[in-house]
């Protein structure tokens, strides 16, 4: 196996045209604006952000479902071929996607077993006579009973449906799973089942996961590394425990403190003022500065770069870097 990372996203950007009003001219909205990230074999990168942060678009870019306007995506050291080509379809067997809504991802006219079997048929895997047995084995691997394979999607609960989607994604023995809010539609008790399943599968199969979610608690549970997105850019990235235990970027800090925790909380809640900014009207300088308690003059004019701090994480914040430099000078 080569030493190249499983997935390498390098400086990808994605723009959309947006028209405001009937007379307004269309303006370019940068949904994703120069995002780089790496998913290693058998590891999980958690991608967290609020609506409009571009995290889902980043996920689609990573799979080549959308072409980047800038930058490129490498899978095992080789560029991903353009979507729709034969080479891309072959590659797609190695990288699968799981969405939030399992009912929408499943075909309601086909039984669960038929849908899990489908990738075997499409990619011509195994002997035709063995495929039902292979699919049944997969169902059991994700915790579904064999008899549940003959059911239709609407006859299963939300958690069981998501298990079926995962089974289908695993049929082609992928190396990479991109999960976009895979447990957000599930109840807490079921959410834990699916989270555990994903973690177990990763350990057994050596899957690399790009795990996209708005839920910090779930992100922390599954991730080795975490990247925080705000308005199309990564503002902080690093080891999951480090990042969430002691956030360096004020936005990460606010996000962590806003995550509701049952029982007594250790930290006071920071309530950010204002709405998440409109990608069509990006603030100057650091996009977060209008909502940031630590913002200085410099933040309004100069966009901070994503640079390493002494503890190894990357942060795009003038204030955090100034503090780190000050501490280094003082010691």
């Amino acid at each position: 196996m080569s030493s190249a990372p499983l997935l390498q996203v390098r400086g990808v950007a994605r723009r959309y045209a947006m028209r405001r009003g009937l007379l307004g001219r269309s303006i370019d909205v940068r949904a994703v604006d120069g995002v780089s990230l790496t998913v290693e074999h058998g590891r999980t990168l958690g991608l967290v952000g609020e609506s409009g942060s571009g995290k889902s678009t980043t996920g689609r870019l990573a799979l080549g479902l959308e072409p980047p306007d800038d930058g490129d995506v490498m899978f095992k050291g080789a560029p991903i071929p353009p979507a729709g080509t034969l080479a891309w379809r072959q590659l797609r067997a190695r990288m699968q996607m799981i969405y939030q809504d399992p009912l929408g991802a499943l075909d309601r006219r086909l039984s669960i077993l038929e849908q899990v079997r489908e990738p075997y048929d499409v990619h011509g895997l195994g002997e035709a006579g063995e495929r039902d047995a292979m699919a049944t084995a997969l169902l059991q691997a994700v915790g579904l009973r064999a008899d549940q394979g003959s059911r239709y999607p609407h006859e299963l609960s939300g958690g069981q449906r998501q298990r079926a989607v995962i089974a289908r994604a695993l049929a082609t023995k992928p190396d990479l799973l991109v999960c976009d809010e895979p447990v957000s539609a599930l109840d807490v008790s079921i959410q834990a089942q699916v989270v555990n399943l994903l973690v177990d599968l990763q350990q057994e199969l050596g899957l690399g996961l790009l795990f996209i979610s708005h839920d910090l608690k779930v992100i922390r549970q599954v991730s080795h590394r975490v990247a925080v997105m705000y308005l199309g850019r990564i503002v902080e990235e690093g080891d999951a425990d480090l990042l969430l235990a002691s956030p360096a970027h004020p936005y990460t800090e606010a996000l962590v403190s806003a995550s509701p925790v049952p029982g007594r909380r250790a930290r006071p809640r920071i309530v950010l003022q204002g709405d998440p900014p409109n990608p069509a009207a990006r603030p100057s300088g650091c996009a977060f500065h209008p909502r940031c308690h630590a913002a200085r003059e410099r933040c309004k004019v100069e966009s901070p770069r994503l640079l390493p701090l002494p503890d190894g994480r990357l942060t795009a914040c003038h204030v955090a870097h100034d503090q780190a430099n000050f501490l280094k000078a003082a010691s």
Binding site: S51, A192, A258, R264, R265, A266
Partner: protein, 337 residues
């Protein structure tokens, strides 16, 4: 203030044995719940547990095919089966309700100012210019920037968080005694959720209005409520002061919910999920509905439905396997959650 210490004063709303069925399928199996002036009560549970149905039934907002029995007393007046005119004056005037997705809960073709104004005209007896002035004051109160101009805006022109503020302003228009907030932040981003929860808490403190918060999110409930009722399959299965409940849950289901929740701090541990699925309302197991999923179940659990019985001085749980530490209480029925 917890529910039990305030029992001496009569409750604002007393729900007694409230049951609801749809097409013969029982979804709510007799809820007892009292809300006192100014307190914040959380109803928490997974989808289909009946937490929303309880309040929709109390306010007569369920579709006609719902069959409702039991009693909901508001200041001594019965709401179940009350005349439409009575219910109309209670809704928004005494008990206001806000819903999950503010974008679809506001009428898309009516200006926000008029939607709030409608409630002011109904319950505040205001008219003309006074309505607009009061609506602007309410918009300011709930923190809508540029309030005067927003009165003439339509819902699609505002963000989700701003629309939820409008919903709250509309709920406050009738100066209600209770605000029932049904998953008010579920459709919102984390930072906006924090804003809305803070707003609800601030308003409750300033107006001494009681808050009933319905949520699936244990964290949201824990941070906002004094008292919590945990619901499962159409019943309240545990109730206690918020701090006590989250520090030491008694009912195996509550314990399961908390163990299934990933922690945000400390050592990462493997999650302990509650095995199995929530039973369908038309296919409930005999006895305790949670028994088939319960790690502590014994044969007796399937015999009969456990009562929501006192377990310590100030908390109750519906579980025969949870030892009772409370002294026998010499208080006649009704027993409110």
């Amino acid at each position: 203030m917890t529910g039990l210490t305030s029992r001496e004063t009569s409750p604002l709303v007393a729900i007694r044995d409230l049951a609801v069925s749809f097409d013969g399928v029982k979804v709510l199996h007799g809820i007892d719940l009292a809300i006192h002036r100014g307190e914040a009560v959380g109803l928490v549970g997974e989808s289909g547990c009946g937490k929303s149905v309880t309040w929709l039934a109390a306010l007569g907002l369920l579709p006609k095919k719902a069959t409702i029995s039991g009693s909901v007393m508001l200041d001594g007046g019965e709401l179940i089966g009350a005349a439409p005119a009575t219910l109309d004056s209670v809704r928004g005037g005494r008990i206001a309700m806000i819903f999950q997705d503010p974008a679809s809960a506001l009428n898309p073709v009516i200006k926000l100012g008029r939607q709030v104004g409608e409630a002011l005209a109904l319950h505040g007896g205001l008219s003309g210019k006074a309505i607009r002035a009061e609506a602007k004051r309410l918009f300011d109160l709930v923190g809508i920037p540029d309030a005067a101009r927003r009165l003439d805006a339509f819902p699609h022109e505002l963000s989700g968080g701003q629309n939820q503020r409008v919903m709250i302003a509309m709920a406050l228009a009738g100066k209600p005694d209770i605000l029932v907030a049904d998953e008010p932040t579920t459709a919102l981003d984390a930072t906006i959720q924090a804003q809305i929860l803070e707003l609800l808490t601030r308003i409750r403190r300033e107006t001494n209005m009681a808050l009933v918060l319905i949520s699936h999110d244990l964290g949201v409930i824990s941070e906002t409520c004094d008292r919590v009722c945990v619901m499962y399959a159409g019943r309240i299965i545990e109730t206690a002061a918020s701090e006590a409940l989250f520090a030491q849950p008694l009912h195996p289901y509550t314990q399961g919910l908390l163990a299934a929740l990933p922690p945000l701090e400390g050592v990462r541990r493997r999650l302990v999920p509650v095995e199995g699925n929530v039973p369908e309302p038309w296919n409930l197991p005999p006895g305790c509905s949670f028994a088939p999923r319960c790690p502590r179940r014994v044969e007796a659990c399937a015999m009969r439905v456990p009562l929501l019985a006192p377990k310590t001085a100030d908390r109750r749980a519906a579980c025969i396997m949870t030892p009772s530490l409370a002294q026998p209480q010499h208080r006649p029925e009704p027993v409110y959650a």
